[in-house]
């Protein structure tokens, strides 16, 4: 297959409020060659009893990935492009540390395979200059991949944010979340209604 370099000027932008819960991204995600035909993206009802709100979550590819640091088997690695990869299949011992420690709730453990798998930014595509599968099919723009300037012109009243605070912990990510204009971080501090 084509092995051109990743386009470093292209970034992933996530806007959960735009998610309409159509699950097209899930279907597309399962087509990603690196996932073994399993969908790694999460589409959730946020609180089904109270609201029809849905949300979508891809791996945010943290600068200091908690999943990799808590892995007892050194199975999770971040590469030079800033992509945090699925667990190395030869090393993963299926302990679930990454599943429980990821602040975004992203990794999935496939118990029969004794293997953690997660979104790896469609590495087969993005490393070859193509967009991730989910971003190619999202009809509402909740998932978008491309140049930052293009996103700025499309969403003039939003700012891309890649800094998060979970309680006392700050997390910087490769993937951006679209926030109200001027925002610099998204705070998740436990005050959200359970």
């Amino acid at each position: 297959m084509t092995t051109t370099a990743s386009r470093s000027h292209e970034e992933f932008f996530l806007d959960p409020q735009r998610c309409i819960g159509c699950h097209a991204c899930e279907m597309a995600c399962a087509e990603c060659e690196t996932n073994g035909q399993l969908a790694m993206i999460h589409v959730d009802y946020v609180d089904r009893a109270m609201s029809p709100q849905t949300s979508v979550q891809v791996c945010m590819h943290c600068e200091e990935p908690t999943c990799a640091r808590v892995c007892p088997a050194d199975a999770i690695a971040k590469d030079e492009l800033g992509v945090v990869h699925s667990a190395n299949a030869a090393r993963c011992i299926a302990c679930s540390n990454c599943v429980l420690a990821c602040p975004f709730g992203v990794p999935k453990k496939i118990e029969p395979m004794k293997l953690m798998m997660k979104c790896n930014l469609c590495y087969d595509r993005t490393s070859a200059g193509r967009r991730p599968m989910c971003a190619t099919v999202c009809p509402s723009g909740a998932l978008w991949y491309g140049p930052r300037e293009r996103m700025a012109s499309m969403r003039p009243n939003s700012s891309p944010v890649n800094e998060f605070r979970f309680g006392l912990q700050k997390v910087r990510t490769r993937v951006n979340v679209m926030m109200p204009k001027g925002s610099t971080e998204l705070v998740v501090d436990g005050t959200e209604a359970p």
Partner: protein, 348 residues
């Protein structure tokens, strides 16, 4: 380089190498049964032992690895010893011998891995005692067609040359080579046809190990080919090329992909930990209201993340890690909605 040397690991590695060297001297009866032609293999094996123990000891010092290492042994020798021993035995067969979990990833991968793994393990089981001088053969006194096998210098058994036992004993490494080659070609096929593998694999971690195994197996088979069909004319070339490939493999063993062979048994300790967790209190997610992991695991992870420099404690008490993965995703979505709501526009 010296500043990054891990002294504790160095100590364990030196001790292991010294013990191994001592066992070679003792097992070969002061080297009288040691085959000098195999000296290069011996030194490469000693280096591999040093490197493996060093890396393993460093690995065990990482907080999450240390957690499972200690918990695994503590649980095994707890009052539930009989139950956990039975669990270990079951998983030893199921996960390490039969490798069922790899078959679940794909039947072709499972088959290839079992062939490759057992080919390699059987080859090691045969060659290591020979290299160490723990096993050697002599012609039985007064005969010209009976061999004696000796183990650690003690007579073990006799077998006639040309018989079934001799054929399989002298060709056992060839059978191992065939298993390895079948497994390697299964994996090579996957690595050159699977687009996902092609995009993520690296030469040194994924392809070189397979190429090395092919070279070891082919040169090993070449030794038999040489003495069976070429009257030994190519023996120096075959012997040296085989030695070079095997020694490269041994020297690289602590650093490359094959280190996973030594890491994999950690899966057994994890299994005991999870079984202990299932029997105890469960952590219930404040968002979903459902149990999602053992309380012990969640609390241990809080400790491990703290040791690693993360602080997921919430200002109002509790921890972000008290949430299940689904709860964490919901918390993020709610925080995002709250920010959008506060700004006066859901979109922008």
């Amino acid at each position: 380089m010296l500043s990054t040397l891990n002294l504790r690991a160095l100590g364990w590695a030196l001790l292991a190498s010294a013990l191994l060297a001592a066992s070679v001297v003792a097992g070969s009866r002061n080297l009288q049964n040691f085959d000098g032609a195999l000296a290069a293999y011996l030194f490469a094996t000693l280096f591999a032992a040093f490197g493996i123990v060093y890396r393993y000891a460093v690995w065990l010092q990482r907080p999450p690895t240390r957690l499972y290492w200690r918990a695994g042994w503590r649980l095994l020798f707890s009052p539930r010893f009989p139950a956990y021993l039975a669990e270990l035995a079951r998983r030893l067969v199921d996960e390490l011998a039969l490798q069922r979990f790899i078959w679940k990833r794909s039947p072709k991968r499972g088959l290839a891995h079992v062939l490759l793994a057992w080919g390699c393990l059987s080859a090691f089981a045969i060659t290591v005692p020979l290299v160490f001088g723990w096993v050697h053969f002599t012609l039985k006194a007064g005969t010209i067609d009976v061999y004696e096998a000796h183990l650690l210098g003690f007579h073990a058994f006799d077998f006639p040359l040309g018989g079934f036992v001799a054929l399989n004993l002298f060709h056992a490494l060839n059978w191992s080579s065939v298993l390895v080659l079948l497994g390697v070609f299964g994996f090579l096929r996957r690595r050159i046809t699977d687009a996902g593998q092609i995009s993520t694999q690296t030469f040194e971690m994924d392809l070189m190990p397979l190429v090395l195994l092919v070279l070891i197996s082919v040169t090993g088979l070449g030794l038999t080919w040489d003495y069976e069909l070429m009257q030994g004319r190519a023996h120096p070339f075959m012997a040296i090329s085989h030695a070079i490939t095997v020694i490269l493999f041994l020297l690289w063993l602590p650093f490359g992909k094959f280190f996973h062979v030594f890491q994999r048994p950690a899966q057994l300790g994890v299994a005991l930990y999870q079984r202990e967790g299932e029997a105890g209190e469960q952590a219930v997610c404040p968002h979903t209201g459902e149990a999602f992991a053992s309380r012990m695991h969640v609390e241990d992870l809080k400790q491990v993340t703290a040791e690693l420099g993360y602080d997921y404690r919430l200002a109002g008490g509790g921890s972000h890690l008290d949430l299940s993965p689904q709860g964490k995703r919901a918390a993020l979505a709610k925080a995002h909605l709250a920010a959008r709501t506060e700004s006066g526009a859901f979109f922008g």
